[in-house]
Amino acid sequence: MSFLQFKFWIFICVLILLYYLLPKKFQWVCLLIGSYVFYALAGINTMGYILFTTVTVWVGALFISKLHLNMKKNLKENKDSLTLENKKGIKALTKKRQRIIFLCVLLINFGILGFLKYFNFISKNITDLLGIIERHNIDPFQLKLLLPLGISFYTFQSIGYLIDVYNGKYEAERNLFKFALFVSFFPQIVQGPINRFDSLAVQLYERHNFDLRKFEYGIQLILWGLFKKMVIADRAVAFINETFNNYGKYGGAITVVSILLYSLEQYADFSGGIDVAAGIAELLGISMAINFKRPYFSTSLGEFWRRWHITLGAWMRDYIFYPLALSKKMGKLSKLTGKHLGKRAGKIIPVAISNIVVFLVVGIWHGANWHYVVWGLYNGIILAFSSILEPFYEWLKKITKVNCENFSYHVFRIIRTFLIVNLGWYFDRAGRLQTSIYLLKNTFLNFRINELFDGTIYKLGLKDTDFTILFIATLILFLVSVMQENGLRIRAFLSEQNLVFRWIVLYIIIFMIISFDASSENLFGGFMYAQF
């Protein structure tokens, strides 16, 4: 079941009615049952996986917490009789036991995710390698594996919770059902955001009175999300699919247009879906983490990844980047490079390596294909080198006397970042690494600009009316983004206007969604990130 299906909105209406009509102490129970009904309707065959993750992480976290509490109790009760050595020993033993539980739960759950997502990919690559060595084709051993809905998102979210408990950030949740709600909360399950336990759980379990302002905001956010998804993303996807599925037919100019549309489509689809999810949560009085902050206004690649899929970036930062960059091994490396290459190098190299590792993981997370790996490495390497080359950039700015504070330089940085990101999309969107390379070569060596003017562009899934609609819708998106970038809070601004103005805006959005919805023609299984 997806946000684009009629039965989903029937489900939401019924759920919201029950949520606010039931006694408030049962609201979280209502959400839990609703979430599992949603999950069951989406695919009951794979429900076992989310249940398994929920139970194992809950049990693991509980044991870790219990060990910590027992240690504290022991130390407190025997604080006079224990020596410093004893205390250190107790702490070390507790930590060791916690680590064992932590690693077991972590490996089992990431193991399941890895197996389901990457088994066939690894098997095929090993078989190909063997085939090269033995000089004949070998059929790869492949399994028909069904990927459970939202497995990446709920696994990351659960493991994030486990890591926080392990690090002593907060105590484990004792109620299995409440924890199950945190894992399975249905608006977030399809494609995130990846919420943190300490910010979401409180809201999930507390009692909510009906808040009209929040409800209105929720509806507005849902409409905005549907506008982006149904009018922009689902319209652009026809062109993108045609050009990427038949890339040999077209020149570089068409590819560039396709990549630019992909830039737009990916953002509209993903952020649109997140807006719908967040809007639904707001209808229930719950605020989820922000996941997008107008990423195409970024002035550097680093900033882009702090504005795009923010919760995944934050997860990677907190649970991979920092632990890696601040690890003992990195510390030793830092000392070594500092000694031989200078103090600055000693600081930058561990950060650069950590960035590359993080983006390698992000690339792999995107999918079981080499082009995703290359895409991840591309971003990681650029980030790594941007900090390494910073002195060079400063020197360049100095000798060219560039004014870095003015508007034109700001625009230059945005465009530069946009181009870097779009170059990366060649590796993200193409179905294979060879296709990405072919498309890049095509772009630079076989541009065929005439294809933009000889009518070819209207034979790729979009008519001239579609381009007009896309242009107008993108313009609206751009204007709204500019206003938000300048600090205007759109929904608050709207709520301050007179009723007639507010209603005109709402009617325009609603009728644009209904009139220009392209999702019925291009219903490619819902939201693109739901496959992760």
Partner: protein
């Protein structure tokens, strides 16, 4: 604390304005109702009870002349078919019918295409549902026929079904405001059209004049149907709705009969498992207590199909419909009298033997080095031996040359050396027939 009464009031007003805008867009943009509207309006307005109703898709709309049937059987017959309607739509249309009329007999027309069709297209729904009077019927029809991607199309028809330009928009609005449109059918409206040679003539019947360019099927150069195919069993969904129709008829003391009207012979012969499919339909009908008659297998004593009876590959023209309607009326009389009607139908062997002509012919070709290999094929009866002739036409000079005279061998290898641009025509005739007697041809430009 919220003033819920005020909030509730605002929500109602917001929704009301929304529906007014949507209605306005529908009124202005959605084209004026076509035949479906007229058919439903006539059905609602007919105060003399309809005795015999033909339901289904366009087969009912075009293949049966209700005026002839009414005259022959001395009752009131009515075509109640809606183009491209699936069994779902037919069921809900029938439900609507029974709210206003009590026909003694309901005849459902189908062929192998309509039997397989389980999706009710949005356009079909939009053409019919707005003119149904029963709200609950409409709502049920909406939920039963909609699927993901089509819910919005049906509630907001102006999303995709709109006039083409501003002039059409103005004419559309003017037309909808016209009294004759609003009040259709007024007294005399049907009589004014019933003798028209072409188009809608009242009582649900759409006439196609065989002398019109769209009124006569050509049997030559039909590449579209030049392949054999298999059809699957009737989908469960359609069996379900057939059952519901049978139950509905029973509740309303009406007899339901299922028929397959005549089609061009090649449409029967191209389906390799046609008779299995037909048996399937017969069994399903029998299980549901419905009489079933396939007029493609009817013997000439009741109805003899001729090539010039067809407007296209699916429908009869007015000439064919007239003859068929006469035959059908006689047939229904016999049915009413309790006569055993099975004797009027061929079995598979006899049917195939009865086809003593070639319905269509074509060839396939492929390049084989310097040569081109042709293979002729056709749809013909089991007692027919076809003869094939290949003729080359130089497209520059127009000169025709027989490159292979009539032979039973469908295969022919040809070296096109010396010819750059040319057409190959295949002539096919029955062995033993006179020279120019019923020759079918197929022509293709070879590059």
């Amino acid at each position: 604390m919220h003033n819920f009464k005020l909030v509730f009031f605002k929500v109602i007003i917001f929704c009301l304005i929304f529906f007014i805008i949507s209605y306005g867009l529908s009124f202005a943009l959605v084209p004026k109702g076509n035949y479906s509207r007229m058919i439903l309006n006539e059905m609602h307005a007919d105060e003399n009870n309809l005795d015999l109703v033909f339901i289904g898709a366009s087969l009912s709309e075009r293949d049966i002349d209700p005026y002839i049937v009414s005259d022959k059987l001395k009752l009131k017959a009515f075509d109640y078919g809606f183009s491209q309607q699936s069994f779902i739509g037919t069921y809900y249309a029938l439900k609507e019918l029974f709210d206003y009329q009590k026909p003694k007999t309901v005849v459902l027309t189908m062929d192998e295409d309509t039997a397989q069709d389980i999706d009710e297209k949005s356009l079909v729904y939009i053409s019919v549902a707005p003119y149904m009077k029963s709200f609950f019927n409409k709502a049920e029809y909406y939920f039963a026929s909609s699927s993901d991607g089509s819910y919005l199309d049906r509630i907001f028809p102006w999303r995709g079904y709109v006039v083409k330009n501003m002039l059409d928009l103005i004419n559309n609005v003017k037309g909808k405001l016209d009294k004759s449109y609003e009040d259709y059918p007024r007294s005399g409206d049907i009589d004014a059209v019933k003798n028209n040679k072409n188009g809608y003539v009242g009582n649900g019947y759409v006439r196609f004049d065989p002398n019109d360019k769209d009124g006569k099927l050509g049997y030559d150069n039909i590449k579209l149907y030049s392949y054999k195919m298999k059809v699957s069993e009737i989908p469960d969904k359609n069996i379900y709705y057939l059952k519901k129709m049978a139950e509905l008829c029973k509740e309303n003391n009406s007899k339901l009969i299922l028929i397959s009207p005549p089609m061009p012979t090649f449409k029967v012969l191209r389906v390799t498992n046609y008779f299995d499919f037909d048996d399937n339909v017969a069994k399903a009908a029998k299980d549901l207590g419905i009489e079933y008659y396939n007029f493609n297998l009817i013997k000439p004593s009741i109805f003899k199909s001729e090539n010039d009876y067809f407007a296209d590959s699916d429908h009869l023209n007015s000439k064919g419909a007239a003859v068929f309607s006469n035959s059908l009326s006689e047939f229904l009389k016999k049915d009413e009298n309790g006569e055993d009607l099975s004797k009027y139908f061929y079995d598979k062997k006899d049917y195939l033997e009865s086809i003593k002509y070639i319905s269509t012919a074509w060839f396939n070709w492929n390049k084989d080095g310097d040569n081109i290999s042709f293979k002729a094929n056709g749809f013909y009866g089991s007692s027919v031996t076809p003869l094939y002739q290949y003729v080359l036409t130089d497209t520059d000079t127009g000169k025709e040359t027989v490159i292979r005279d009539y032979s039973t061998d469908p295969n022919f290898e040809f070296n096109p050396a010396g010819h750059s641009k040319y057409k190959i025509r295949l002539n096919a005739k029955v062995k033993g027939s006179a020279d120019n007697d019923n020759i079918r041809y197929y022509e293709e430009t070879i590059r």
